[in-house]
Amino acid sequence: MVVDCEQVWHEISTYLEGDIDPALRSAMEEHFRTCKQCASVLEGTRNVIRLYGDERMIEVPAGFGRRLEKRLVQSARVTTSRWSSLSAWLVPVAALALFAGGLHVANSLTVGPELKSEHAQPGRGIPPDMLVVVTADAKVFHVAGCGVIHNKETERTLTAKEAMQQGYVPCLRCMREYLHTAAVGHIALESEADVGVDADEEDLHNSGR
């Protein structure tokens, strides 16, 4: 196989990517040995890739990292304090429930609120801050824009956590990712206490994929 200069220029990028037919590769190598111009194009292109690919080429404005960290920390704190205020609230409620109704009531509390649909699976691993929509008289929550939202004019947006606390269950279509067929008894009302259990389950799911 013999290639001319124009073909070489056309393929020089894929040549450098290493994503090229072996016969074409050796034809190009042969060409570079004899054609000074194309060898110059090759090395110049290599220079471009190497120089621009260097970390030092990326400059950020002064204070960028500090401002980013601040914003993330603020956000993490908001999330954490929401969790802790929730669990702080759950403790006396759970205690009261234990006192009043014994184990049965306590169990139903850890399972979460009563689902609006008795046939539905509760969702798992849904990011609590994810924004979802629900509509009047419906039992499920959706990702905005899901094709099976009925009664669209009554749509309201809330976080997945709020939706689950109110007993909504994930839509079979748009929330499929978060539905596991294994019957899992708890809704993602995450408190510090079930983190450990959650971790084990997640590992099981991951290794099963």
């Binding site: 090395e43 401002r67 999330t79 990011p127 971790a199």
Partner: protein, 205 residues
């Protein structure tokens, strides 16, 4: 398990305070990805932050088979594209040329070459000149080049992030690289690298 995998698992299980440690190694790349699309430092910084927050909110969806850095960059590109669409900054960049997808670009400068040492990048004016050269490229070439050659996404990931075909990525990438090569050649003549220890009479490409 690497330190990164460990951090990911911990953040996924609620140790929010570790998130910054997890993303800190990539903060510069996230900014650069946003800047390549938005071309405005303030917008890019804002979008970089938004993208990080989004990654934080969705960290449980991250699956170990993907590279974390790629996942972050893809979220960033997506956020930046949404911002651009919303703010229609597109108008300011002129109408995008839909032709010349064909790589009919021919190199212009065939001077003798040598390697430009990476130490050249220690000099601010060299970085600045390279940055200016990149900024002269049309948007579609610049974006592909930045994602592939600066952000180190692969061809498929670049295509997916920008919502274009693999073939388009390849064509644009070729052209971007050749154009930059010519710009560097021209820059050499203007003395961008003049204080570098090259031998007399030889050019670095």
């Amino acid at each position: 398990m690497t330190r990164e995998q460990d951090l990911i698992a911990r953040v996924q299980h609620g140790q929010n305070e570790l998130f910054y440690e997890l993303v800190q190694p990539y903060e510069r790349r996230v900014f650069a990805a946003a800047l390549a699309i938005l071309r405005n430092e303030n917008d890019a910084e804002d979008v970089a932050q938004e993208a990080m927050l989004k990654a934080f909110a969705n960290i449980r969806q991250f699956r170990a088979e993907a590279r974390f850095s790629t996942w972050l960059i893809q979220i960033t590109v997506n956020e930046a594209l949404m911002r651009r669409r919303r703010e229609r900054t597109v108008v300011m960049e002129g109408i995008d040329d839909r032709r010349d997808e064909e790589s009919d670009y021919a190199p212009r400068d065939f001077a003798d070459w040598r390697e430009i040492p990476s130490e050249a990048l220690e000099r601010k004016e060299v970085r600045q000149k390279l940055g200016e050269a990149l900024a002269t490229l049309d948007r579609k070439y610049r974006e592909v080049f930045v994602l592939r050659d600066m952000e180190q996404l692969n061809i498929q990931e670049t295509a997916k992030a920008l919502g274009i075909s693999v073939a388009s990525v390849k064509t644009r990438l070729l052209r971007a690289r050749l154009m930059l090569r010519d710009l560097l050649a021209a820059g050499w003549q203007q003395g961008w690298f003049s204080r570098l220890p090259f031998q007399k009479g030889s050019k670095p490409w």
